[in-house]
């Protein structure tokens, strides 16, 4: 069973209107006293409302990471509205490339699952854009979000999903709060499909890097330095990989953590010697 500190998805949205349908669907509750950004939390995920813009998105993502100390295997999803000259209102797009227009820098989310919607290049701009020059999806957060998310996780687990709120026929000035809510609510199925994929990937990765079952029994009994604890974790994983179950009680004669590590190394060596003898 996962502890509350292991919620494996962090959502970053710019607007409260984008957050509401998600909070309702995923039963997210507002957390009090969590700093300058509204934070919501559910069983499997957390959501932060960053405000518009790439800097705000990056800062809010960092806030979530900093406040909750999320593991490296957590998935990150930036969700919201965007504009696209050629797309229909309400269509969902996942980014396969994000270009920051101001810096010219490119980012490449790793699409390792079958996307439930079309994918596109996202162009992150600093001001709302009404002159849609290419087939890109225009947004204001993706580049900042992605750069921050990749500092905390891996590019395969960081994605940006946008629902088209404006196009050539319907400029961004016309978009109301109610419309934003309706656009997100109408695409909850696609959003949930992406979320499920990301949660599954996060869980898979997390299970590989979960602390060995016996770790706590050792760290409770002996005082390990940070380096020693890293060595302990590695030795316990190695023993686990060869199906040996190290028990802390067997080392009760050891006074110092270093002696325990030596004992565990000896166990590994004996196992190797047994196998080499055939």
């Amino acid at each position: 069973m996962e502890t509350p500190r292991e919620r494996l998805l962090h959502l970053v949205v710019a607007l409260p209107a984008e957050a509401h349908p998600l909070a309702e669907r995923f039963r997210l509750k507002g957390l009090e006293g969590r700093g300058p950004w509204p934070v919501f939390e559910g069983e499997e995920m957390r959501l932060v409302v960053s405000g518009p813009g790439k800097v705000a998105a990056a800062a809010a993502a960092s806030h979530l990471q900093g406040s909750f100390g999320a593991p490296k295997q957590i998935a990150w999803l930036n969700l919201g509205i965007g504009g696209c000259g050629d797309a229909s209102l309400g269509e969902a797009f996942l980014a396969h490339k994000i270009t920051d227009r101001a810096s010219g820098k490119n980012y490449y989310p790793g699409l390792i699952f079958k996307p439930p919607c079309r994918t596109a290049v996202f162009l992150t701009v600093d001001q709302p854009e009404a002159r849609y020059q290419g087939p890109e999806v225009y947004d204001m957060e993706a580049s900042g979000f992605f750069e921050a998310a990749c500092a905390f996780s891996t590019a395969e687990l960081a994605h940006s999903l946008k629902i088209i709120s404006d196009n050539r026929a319907s400029p961004p000035q016309n978009v109301t709060r109610k419309q934003v809510e309706a656009l997100i609510a109408a695409r909850l199925e696609v959003i949930e499909a992406v979320i499920r994929q990301l949660l599954a990937l996060g869980r898979e990765l997390r299970s590989l890097h979960r602390d060995p079952a016996a770790l706590e029994a050792f760290t409770e009994r002996w005082r390990f330095t940070v380096t020693q604890e890293r060595q302990l974790r590695r030795l316990l994983r190695q023993l686990q990989a060869i199906e040996l179950k190290p028990e802390a009680a067997r080392f009760s004669g050891c006074k110092a953590a270093g002696d325990v590590l030596s004992g565990l190394r000896e166990e590994l060596d004996s196992a190797a010697a047994r196998e080499a003898r055939g």
């Binding site: 490119n106 994918t119 990749c150 080499a276």
Partner: protein, 330 residues
């Protein structure tokens, strides 16, 4: 085959890039300035990427032909390698590429013409020396696994056939020999097939065609007159390895005509320290990396006594079928 293809902007118009993109018309195309933006960036997970690898089309710049690492070769002292492809479509747990690269995506360098120029220079430099230079094409990849897409052998075999002073090794675990069968056999182009015994193949070589299918492909090439080689590298330790390897070699040499084999090479399981560390981190549950290994001079391998037993035993078994001068240790 590939759902996403990244393409360097500069080579979008290259005929080979166009041909590959035409074959992968259903894939999402994403442009990039330089393949390293996708392939070499930090914050990516090799293991996750294997679920859905992308192809990256790029142009190779800098040094295209490099001296082979020490110990890599077939008797010649002038060994080089070049890589038209980085990474491999198969998933062999022991393969060092997993620890070498940050990304599991495959990079195809489409500018074969630049490789030809670089190879020509190396061959010219070798001149009429007593030892012909040998070029290895399967160091960073499988030479033939993507042949229908890359046309690598179709392009490079005629190049080497016209330069008989040099030799080319195509190293593979694939059964992609159709292209070679359509070409005239070239005496200086060796199709070298890598094998491990069945229990190890089943445990460690995901996606690799079965041993009988690969032996069939090798035999077809041999019958057509192609020089073929056998590569037993890495030799992996397992309990009762003697019986496993004895039976395995017997089965292999039952199919392969040993008398006109070009060469057999064998090498123990060894990884540079940093690469071993990266691989063990990717697969914390993998027994292969968990125990029985030790570091000697920067290389992680089995203990010396185990290496000696494994190599000596296998070499002795192979010598029952193949003359000594054709067997090389790597």
């Amino acid at each position: 085959m590939f759902e996403t293809v990244y393409v360097e902007e500069a080579i979008q118009g290259h005929p080979r890039a166009k041909a590959v993109l035409k074959r992968l018309a259903g894939a999402t195309q994403v442009t990039c300035h330089h393949f390293g933006e996708v392939f070499n960036r930090k914050a990516q997970n090799f293991r996750l990427q294997k679920r859905r690898r992308a192809l990256i089309l790029a142009g190779k710049r800098g040094r295209l032909v490099l001296p082979a690492p020490a110990g890599y070769g077939l008797g010649s002292r002038r060994n080089f390698y070049f890589s038209h492809l980085l990474n491999c479509p198969y998933d062999c747990r022991y393969c060092f590429l997993q620890g070498l690269y940050r990304s599991a995506h495959l990079v195809l360098f489409v500018n074969y013409e630049d490789f030809f120029r670089a190879l020509e220079e190396e061959i010219a430099e070798a001149g009429g020396g007593s030892e012909p230079p040998c070029f290895f094409s399967g160091y960073d990849c499988d030479s033939l696994a993507l042949e229908p897409l890359t046309g690598f052998a179709a392009a490079f075999v005629p190049f080497f056939a016209a330069r008989p002073r040099a030799c080319l090794e195509l190293r593979t675990k694939s059964v992609q020999v159709k292209g070679l069968l359509e070409l005239e056999p070239a005496r200086n182009c060796i199709a070298a097939f890598s094998f491990t015994p069945r229990p190890l193949h089943e445990r460690h070589e995901e996606g690799v065609p079965s041993i009988p299918r690969r032996l069939e492909a090798l035999v077809r090439l041999q019958e057509r007159g192609w020089p073929v080689g056998l590569r037993f590298d890495p030799l992996l330790y397992l309990e009762g390895f003697e019986a496993v390897y004895r039976d395995f070699f017997a089965a292999v040499f039952d199919r392969v005509r040993a008398e006109n084999l070009h060469s057999v090479s064998l090498g123990n399981f060894r990884l540079p320290r940093d690469i071993h560390w990266a691989m063990a981190g990717l697969y914390p549950e993998e027994k292969l990396f968990a125990f029985g290994l030790e570091e000697r001079e920067g290389l992680v391998s089995y203990r010396e006594a185990v290496v000696a037993r494994l190599l000596d035993f296998c070499q002795e078994e192979i010598s029952k079928y193949v003359p000594e001068e054709k067997v090389f240790r790597c």
